[in-house]
Structures are given as structure tokens and as C-alpha cells.
Symmetry: C2
Subunit: 353 residues, 2 copies
DNA sequence: ATATCTTGGTAACATGGGTTATCAACGCTA
DNA sequence: TAGCGTTGATAACCCATGTTACCAAGATAT
């Protein structure tokens, strides 16, 4: 039987290894490590140091990150897990990422985009030792699955930070907007303008803590102002504009009376306004609207929503800081909750009753 | 001198290694590899196989990705290098990413976000052996630096794909919109409506091939229609809306006459329209506008731009496919250029002269 | 009984670099 | 000259895996 040749591989010019540098500089590989890593302790005279540094430069040597990760146990990589309905990466992700990036980049940490897989959403990155910490934006699975998946990470006190939704499991930190407070404030703005029949189109409150918090903030505002909660005014949505539109349509067809809407998020508000107009109503004359976040940040639309704009960049940054601290720390830090303040935008979508 | 204790580390429950599985299954570590990787050749009876699989499940074993990468030389990671003025990740990045993701995810490739560092933009990821291939969105440095930085990768035929701008260096593939064709088409739309004095606000044409191609497309359209190129109508911008606004302002202050604008990108168009309105002009009655791309994809604004919408998801997907093919292939593939078709949007920003 | 084949599996090496115990050579002192 | 400290560096081990050459034991053929 003829021995089979290996398939011919791309011919790659050998990338310099420690050994190559060592040979060129006439020292042992260990010495190269000692010098290039500036390891304290061993005394290497400047002449030798320089010889090694020159050799390294000449060869364009950079230590193999994989080998280094194997021996140090640190990959210098942060896993970022995004999840959104049907879309691993969604629009606003970029400002979160930029915030986190601003923290990690100076420390030479890289960002690895997460699994996005329904079956093994998180554990993979951790159990395969691929990352040193994890930033989670929106829990990837239902609460039950989470617990199972997160079990490994919890037991290991694996450095984690959740953004935009609290994890059910008590693991790592949580950074977000004060959704409860923001929702309460946005509802109060309507109440202060004299509104009493305020509809709330919610987010997926069963699976997402921010949606739940906003719903509770809405209820609290009503309570504190002596307005009875009318369940027919609460429409359970999922943060998508189309769903919000359908719910509103339905409510109006049912003949539910209201003079204002507090929408759980920007997209819901945007589509609600579109629908109201389509049905011949004026915003805000006929219906006032507040929300959380604003469609198309920083850009003028033909209305200016009264809203509470989350500081997504700030949230990403803060989350990065907490996570980095957690990674650096030798001790197990307690879980921390952290709210990043947003901005109230006083638009033109409220009209006094 | 008292011997110093190592700082106490987080106590982590030991993550199962191959060795642990081997012990539990009463076999050698090698056998574990053979079974779990389904290595062809060695004959392991089903009973033993099952014992190993059970042990692995029981321990939640997943092979250490780092060790595996070291020995195989494949990290199963794609580097994605984004660069934009001041912003490592910009808004539309998400659709590119989603396109690329749709290709890589099924093959178990992960995405590592690139350097974003002016000094060592690309070489790091490659030379440190961190990634198996690279997707580059917008060249990170000036053309000169690129050549120097890319030298290593070129010599190695390192799998690369550029998106949104050709690299000067001949390395890997290039996927983009047909910028020349699109620009020509958008200029022709204006010409067909009778316009002859058409201003073009460009992108950074000295550093970015897409901006250059669009400029050339604009010129070509004029030429083919017998319209002389008037340099005072070409304003050299950089794709940012604010810059475009300034340039337009300047041109108008200079008293340059024009009846239409072909804007190099969406942001430029958007800000141009805002400025024109601010200066009391109507779009399109006084000034017609076309562009490439549309501000705020998929959402209605109070105008509908006549534009050529790039298929960013498609570009990301195509780039992913070419890159993957390149990574999988043992041979050195020739450089390929590939245009992904976009969509013409027939808006309302053209008015016949 | 001996040679040969098959089955089932393992030992050993390689990957590239961090870390530490150790060591040779040299100069100085008693 | 022996003993000792210092300087300058290195050999050896470790990380967790993939891979291949090899081997022991039993079965079969001669």
C-alpha cells in the first residue's frame, strides 16, 4: 500500500518563535522570555537584553498568544454575548461595545463575540477556557435554561457582568439603566399633564427584568398618584415595534379609552405613533406619548419624543470596569448592581389634558 | 527573609480535563481524544466508546480550546477589524457582522474583534497566531502603513478579506458594493431629470477606495453625458455628515451655483438636506439629491432619498464565504473581487429641472 | 508448537512559551 | 588554596491537547 502524502499545505514563511529569537541572540529560549516579559528577579545585563530585543525586532517576533494563554491560564479575551430576537448583533450593540472597548482595549483585552447558539449559549465559552470573563447582553435563554447553563460558571465564581437584564442566577454584576425609576418618571410626566387613562405597552416582562421593572415603575407611578390600575390598559408586548403596533390596534378596536401611552421602548413608541396617525389621531393632541429611549438616537425625526434616553455607551463602559475589576481581583467579589444615569429628553409628545 | 505566599487565587472547582475523563472511564488520555474526536483509524469497541462518552458527559467535559488550538494550529477564530473615525464599531457594523456570522457560526468559528490600535492594527492578530483569518472593514491606517503592516500577512498568504474598501496591497479577497457603478447610476438619475450643475460631496477619496470609486463614477456619468467636470462642484469630504454640512455651507457662501447634489453617503446626504432646509431651500424643488445608502435603514423619514442601498448583510455574508473557502483551502487562491448587488430606492428627492 | 494477524489500546512526542531551581564561572576573602 | 558570594544564565518542568508509532494479548493459521 502506497503511503499517502499529507495534503500539501499553504507554504507559510515560518513565523518567528521564541527559539528563533534565542538562536539569533545567542541565548537560551528561557532568557528570551525573561527579557521580553521583563520578569523581575533574574539579572540579565543590558548588553544581553539589547541583543535579545534587537533580535526580536529583526524577526518581528511576537509571542504566540495561544501558547501563552495555555500556560498562564489567561486568554486576555472577554466574551461578549449578544442576543436579540433573530439577530445576534443588533443596532445599539455598537455603543455598548464601544463603551466596553474603551475599558478593555487599553488593558490589551480582546473581545470575542459569543455563542449565539440556543443549545450551548454560555457554557461553551467558559468551559472551553476561551475567555477570562463574560459580558452578557440580554439573557440568551429562558430563565430555566439559564440556571442549568450558568451552573458551572456560578460554582467557579466566573467573572461575569449582565447588561440590560438581571440574570435570575446570582452571578457577577449587573449594570443597567434604573428601569423602574425611568418608567416611573415617564409615567409621572403624563400624570403631571393631567392624564389618568395611560396605556402601557410592555416589553417581554416574563423573561426580561428590564421589561418587568418598567412595568412596575408604571404601576408605582399610578399608585402614588391615586390612579387605579386598569388591566385593560396594560398590553403585554415584547419590545418589537410591530408587536406593539398590533397590540395598540387591538386595544383601539376593542374600544379601550385612553389619552396617553407610556411605551416600554423606542421602537414600540415609534410604531405606536405611526399607527395613531394612520388611524387619524394626532400626537400629542389626541394622544400623548412617553417612552424609554428614542428612535434613531441623535437624529431629528418629525416628532421629538418625551423620553428617558439610556446611556448605552456609559453602561458598556461601567460594565467593562466592573468586569475588569472582577477579573483582576484575587478575591471573590460580592454581586453588585449598578445603575447608569440616562438623560431626560423633554420633547413635544405630551399635551395637557 | 520570610518566603512570601502567592496571593490567594479564586477557588475554582476544577474544570474537567482529558485526564479526568480518562481516569473515570478507566482508559488512557489518548483514547479519550480518539473517541471524542472520532478519529478515523484506531478501532475502539463500542463498549469502551460509550464508557468514555458517559464519563465526559458526567464531568461536563469540553476540550480546552486553547490547548487544542496550540497543537492544531487552528484557533477557530476569525478576526474582524473595524475602523471608523473615532469609533471602533459603528452603527452599520451590526448588519455586516450578522452576515458574516451567518457563515461562520455553523462552522464553529468564533469572531474576535480586532485591534483598533493605530500602532499595531493588524499584524498583532496574525503574528500572535490569534486568528485563522481576517475580515477587514475599512483599512485601519494610511496606505503606506498598510503595506508595512500587511507585509507579514502577504508573505504568508494569510486568509483575508477586505470589505468596503480595497486594500492597496494585493492580499486576499475584496467584497463590496460596485461603488463606481452605483455612483454613476445615482449621478445619471440626476442628469436624466435634466440637471447639469451637480455637486458631489465626496468621501475620504485619498484613503478609501470606495470614496474614490464613487468620485470616479460621478465623473464618468458626467463625461458620458457631455457635461464638463467643474472642480468647484466637487467638495472633498470624509463621509461624516458634519464635514459634509460644512463643505456645502462653504460652497453656498462662495456662491457656487448648482441644482442637484450627489452625496457620497447617507450621513452626508442627511446633513445636506438639513442644511438646505435651514437655509430656506426646498428639497427637491430647489435642490435635488441622490446618494448612496439611506439614513436609518428601513425606517421612514420625512423625505425618502433617491439612493442606492448597499446590501450590507449580503456583503458580510459573501465576505464570510470567500474567507471561509480560503481558510479551508490548501492551495493559495488568487485574489478575488466581488460585488454584491444593492437596491435602488426611488425616493422623492429628485425634481426635474 | 510456532508464526502471523487482529484487536484494543497506549506511550511518547509535539505545540510554544512561563517559571523556577540550579549551576558554572568568576572574583574576592581568609 | 580553600571557601564563599555574586553574576549571568540555563535546563527542566508545566500547561492540555492531537497524533502516530508501537505493543501486548489473544486468535488464527501452519
Amino acid at each position: 500500500m502506497a503511503e499517502q502524502d499529507k495534503p500539501s499545505k499553504r507554504v507559510q514563511p515560518r513565523i518567528a518563535r521564541r527559539k528563533d529569537v534565542a538562536e539569533l541572540a545567542q541565548v537560551s529560549p528561557s532568557t528570551v522570555s525573561l527579557v521580553l516579559n521583563n520578569t523581575p528577579g533574574p539579572r540579565i545585563p543590558d548588553a544581553t537584553r539589547q541583543r535579545i530585543i534587537d533580535a526580536a525586532n529583526q524577526l518581528g517576533y511576537q509571542p504566540n498568544a495561544v501558547a501563552r494563554a495555555l500556560v498562564t491560564g489567561k486568554t486576555m479575551t472577554i466574551g461578549v454575548v449578544f442576543h436579540y430576537i433573530g439577530n445576534p448583533f443588533y443596532d445599539t450593540a455598537s455603543s455598548w461595545l464601544n463603551g466596553a472597548w474603551s475599558v478593555f482595549h487599553p488593558h490589551e483585552y480582546r473581545i470575542l463575540l459569543g455563542e449565539g447558539d440556543e443549545e450551548k449559549p454560555l457554557a461553551g465559552l467558559y468551559r472551553q477556557r476561551g475567555v477570562d470573563g463574560m459580558l452578557m447582553l440580554v439573557p440568551p435563554t429562558s430563565p430555566e435554561d439559564q440556571d442549568k447553563e450558568l451552573q458551572f460558571m456560578i460554582e467557579a465564581d466566573f467573572p461575569c457582568c449582565a447588561i440590560g437584564a438581571r440574570l435570575k442566577a446570582d452571578i457577577g454584576d449587573y449594570v443597567d439603566t434604573d428601569n423602574f425609576g425611568a418608567a416611573k418618571m415617564m409615567t409621572e410626566k403624563l400624570i403631571q399633564a393631567g392624564h389618568k387613562r395611560i396605556m402601557h405597552i410592555t416589553g417581554p416582562h416574563l423573561f426580561n427584568s428590564s421589561a418587568m421593572d418598567r412595568l412596575n415603575g408604571y404601576k408605582q407611578a399610578l399608585k402614588e398618584n391615586g390612579i387605579e390600575i386598569d388591566e385593560s390598559l396594560i398590553r403585554y408586548g415584547n419590545y418589537t415595534g410591530t408587536m406593539g403596533e398590533d397590540l395598540l390596534n387591538e386595544a383601539m378596536d376593542e374600544g379601550v379609552k385612553f389619552t396617553a401611552i407610556f411605551a416600554a421602548n423606542a421602537s414600540t413608541a415609534h410604531f405606536a405613533i405611526k399607527l395613531l396617525r394612520k388611524r387619524g389621531l394626532d400626537v400629542p393632541k389626541d394622544v400623548s406619548i412617553t417612552a424609554i429611549d428614542r428612535p434613531y438616537q441623535n437624529e431629528p425625526l418629525d416628532y421629538e419624543l418625551v423620553t428617558y434616553q439610556q446611556d448605552t455607551y456609559g453602561i458598556g463602559k461601567k460594565a467593562g470596569e466592573l468586569l475588569l475589576e472582577r477579573i483582576m481581583s484575587d478575591e471573590v467579589l460580592p454581586s453588585r448592581n449598578c445603575y447608569v444615569e440616562g438623560t431626560f429628553i423633554d420633547g413635544n409628545t405630551i399635551h395637557p389634558v
